[in-house]
Structure formats: structure tokens, C-alpha cells
């Protein structure tokens, strides 16, 4: 069965420090991995997906199939990065199969001044 694990419920860092939010997954096929973010009093929104290999708001994430991980990283955290971050998995997306998302528990990131 597909599963996404985010081991940290809360991550607290100081402004300017590097941040890494961990995500591990289990899926036997070719997964599609996503990071979603929910800022305070806002709705869930896509931050980035592994296929696009983009850097969004300074965040990057690399899919490591050997370690089944998709950790989210940013070299210098900003206070406005404080939010809830969710790692999610799907499959067959680019083949046009717009399937459900399987979610991790989420990590609350607090960036302190």
C-alpha cells in the first residue's frame, strides 16, 4: 500500500538558517511526489512537484528513489516560510491518470526572528 511518512510534527528554526523537512514514501511503482503548503488562514496550495524540478520560493526537493525520500530544503529560511507543509504522493499522473493524493501527517515549520 502507498504510504507517506513525515517524521517531524514540528520544526523550529531561526531566520537565515537552513531548513530540511523530511518525507519518506513507500510505493512499489513510479511515484509522483508533491509538496503542498498551507499558510495561516489560507488554503492548501501546491508548492512543488518532483517532475518539474523547479525551485519555488527558494525551496527545492529531489526525489531519491534509493532512499525513497523527497525531502524539502531551503538554504536560508525566512519568517514568511512559517506554515504547515505536507508531502503527498500520487502515481500515473503524467499519463493522464489524475488520481488521488496520498498524504503525510504534515510538518509545522516555525521560523523564528
Amino acid at each position: 500500500a502507498q504510504r507517506v511518512t513525515q517524521p517531524e510534527k514540528l520544526l523550529s528554526v531561526f531566520k537565515g538558517a537552513p531548513v530540511e523537512l523530511k518525507c519518506n514514501y513507500s510505493y512499489s511503482g513510479s511515484p509522483e511526489l508533491f509538496w503542498y503548503v498551507q499558510y495561516s488562514r489560507q488554503r492548501l496550495q501546491l508548492l512543488l512537484r518532483h517532475i518539474s524540478r523547479e525551485s519555488i520560493k527558494g525551496f527545492t526537493a529531489d526525489l531519491n528513489k534509493g532512499e525513497t525520500s523527497f525531502h524539502l530544503k531551503k538554504p536560508f529560511a525566512q519568517e514568511e516560510d512559517s506554515a504547515m507543509y505536507y508531502c503527498a504522493l500520487s502515481w500515473g499522473v503524467n499519463a493522464g491518470n489524475n488520481r488521488k493524493l496520498i498524504w503525510g501527517l504534515g510538518t509545522s515549520l516555525a521560523v523564528n526572528p
Binding site: 488554503r43 501546491l46 501527517l105
Partner: protein, 115 residues
């Protein structure tokens, strides 16, 4: 464009009552999803509509939950009768089409409290 809208934003009902949640997707979006987050647990998929058809309803907890999507536009999720464990935040998401990758856009959620 208002994005995905959900109504109500909050609902407090007693066990055994009925509640109907509504989701209006972004205009023209064929895919509509329902998810639920119960406190302390992961966001869980409930079901997926493609236009008016149920594509995947594998996440529906039991037959107390009934989802419809009239004419392929808005969707309703009815819980009857509600139980305490149904409390949580119900999210709706929509995405555009059936070809290639289509980002899921989320509504603000409906917070359901069953007393």
C-alpha cells in the same frame, strides 16, 4: 475567479443528525475530489468525480456518506446519520482535465464538529 468554494465553512451538529457539505469547483474543471483530515491524522482521500461520474470512491468510510455531483458542476457530500468520528475538516479540490498533469486546487475546507 474565486477558486474552489465550500459551504458551510463550519458546521456543528449532534450525533445522529444529517449534514450536507457543498463544493463548487473552479469553472470548467472536470475533476473534483473530496478529502478529509481528522485531528491528529493524515489527510485522507474520500472520492474522485470525473464530471458527474464517480471515478474512485475507495476512500468513502461507509454507507453513511453519500456524494453527488449534479450535472458535473458542484458536488455535495451528505453524512447521514453523523457520528462522533466524522468530525474533521473536509476539503474539496478540483483540477482541469483528463490529459496529462492537472494541478489540484483546494477549497478552504469545511470544519465539521459532531457532538
Amino acid at each position: 475567479e474565486a477558486g474552489v468554494t465550500q459551504f458551510p465553512s463550519h458546521s456543528v451538529i449532534e450525533k445522529g443528525q444529517t449534514v450536507t457539505l457543498r463544493c463548487d469547483p473552479i469553472s470548467g474543471h472536470d475533476n473534483l475530489y473530496w478529502y478529509r483530515r481528522v485531528m491528529g491524522k493524515e489527510i485522507k482521500f474520500l472520492l474522485h468525480f470525473v464530471k458527474e461520474s464517480k471515478q474512485d470512491e475507495s476512500g468513502m468510510p461507509n454507507n453513511r456518506f453519500l456524494a453527488e455531483r449534479t450535472g458535473g458542476t458542484y458536488s455535495t457530500l451528505k453524512v447521514q446519520p453523523a457520528e462522533l468520528e466524522d468530525s474533521g475538516v473536509y476539503f474539496c479540490a478540483s483540477s482541469l482535465g483528463l490529459v496529462g498533469y492537472n494541478e489540484q486546487f483546494f477549497g478552504p475546507g469545511t470544519r465539521l464538529t459532531v457532538l
